[in-house]
């Protein structure tokens, strides 16, 4: 039996191969490595910590079930991101009762600057339409290009560009307090 340090030291492609063969500990290591990334992506997408964690859990459960179909272990990251976006899109289409919760602001007290900025950013993102929000999050959080976002979301490239351009303008208006403060609000 392999030990935990073996998993934590191994390259991701090796861990993915092991998890693909049903190794529970290997999958646990993958979740540990990727959970913050997926949860942050979901938090920016839906603006609610509880819903984001619930959707992130769905992403990893789907990943566990679909992992044997992943042919190239080196593509685990992009594959997981596609799963996450699909889970989010499905959630939107289902009009899940939890969606109501997704519209609510997190009540968590901002204990540090990054948490406060995250809350302000999520509040500003909440003013965008769902599709626009997804495009903006994928562009800024994931660093994806217009073409990549279009492929991932099945939206025309022109629509993606438009969503990002308008979304960026809208966010700048909402986050005007941070102008010229290097990430700190001007009137905080």
């Amino acid at each position: 039996m392999l030990t935990q340090p073996f998993y934590s030291r191994s390259p991701e492609s090796i861990v993915v191969r092991l998890a693909r063969n049903g190794d529970r500990q290997a999958f646990s290591e993958l979740v540990s490595r990727r959970q913050a990334w997926i949860r942050n992506l979901m938090r920016r997408s839906c603006g609610n910590m509880v819903l984001a964690d619930d959707l992130s859990q769905q992403v990893f459960l789907q990943a566990w079930n679909a992992l044997p179909q992943l042919r190239d272990p080196a593509r685990f990251g992009p594959w997981l991101k596609r799963l996450a976006v699909n889970v989010w899109l499905q959630h939107q289409r289902r009009n899940d009762p939890l969606r109501e919760a997704g519209e609510m602001r997190d009540e968590a007290v901002a204990t540090d600057d990054s948490a406060r900025i995250a809350m302000d950013l999520d509040a500003a993102l909440a003013t965008l339409a769902h599709d626009a929000r997804l495009c903006v999050v994928l562009a800024y959080h994931e660093g994806m290009t217009h073409d990549e976002i279009a492929v991932l979301t099945d939206m025309p490239v022109g629509t993606v560009k438009s969503h990002i351009r308008r979304g960026t303008l809208r966010l700048r208006e909402q986050l005007v307090a941070y102008d010229g403060m290097g990430g700190e609000p001007q009137d905080a």
């Binding site: 942050n40 800024y140 959080h141």
Partner: protein, 114 residues
């Protein structure tokens, strides 16, 4: 693709590390529950299949016997087994041949239509 520097910075700052112990525990517990459910489901399915096979075996054997007796039956009776017409028709002159040709035609028609 050009990105707004301020927004990029805010996204980067907001993208902080999250403690994952409870999250990980929740996922692994759910995976274990899924495994347990799958084992129970497969066991139940196996038991149902075994019971069905045990109950249906006599009927299935009778059906197989009936079919195996019916398939080689000739469609056209030819008295002289050595007659040329019998040699020519023998590959098609049976219930099995008719069934095979019918299935083949249906498959071809299905492919043509759909």
């Amino acid at each position: 693709m050009e990105r707004d520097p301020l927004l990029q910075k805010l996204f980067d700052i907001a993208n902080h590390d999250l403690p994952g112990e409870a999250f990980l525990a929740g996922i692994m517990a759910e995976i274990d529950a899924l495994r347990r459910r799958a084992i129970i489901a497969w066991t139940a399915a196996g038991l149902v299949l075994a019971a069905a096979a045990w109950l249906l075996t006599p009927m299935m054997v009778a059906a197989v016997n009936l079919i195996s007796q019916a398939l080689p039956q000739s469609l056209i009776k030819i008295d002289d087994p050595s007659a040329m017409i019998n040699l020519v028709l023998s590959p098609l002159n049976s219930v099995a041949a008719v069934v095979a040709v019918t299935v083949l035609v249906m498959v071809l028609a299905y492919r043509k239509i759909f």
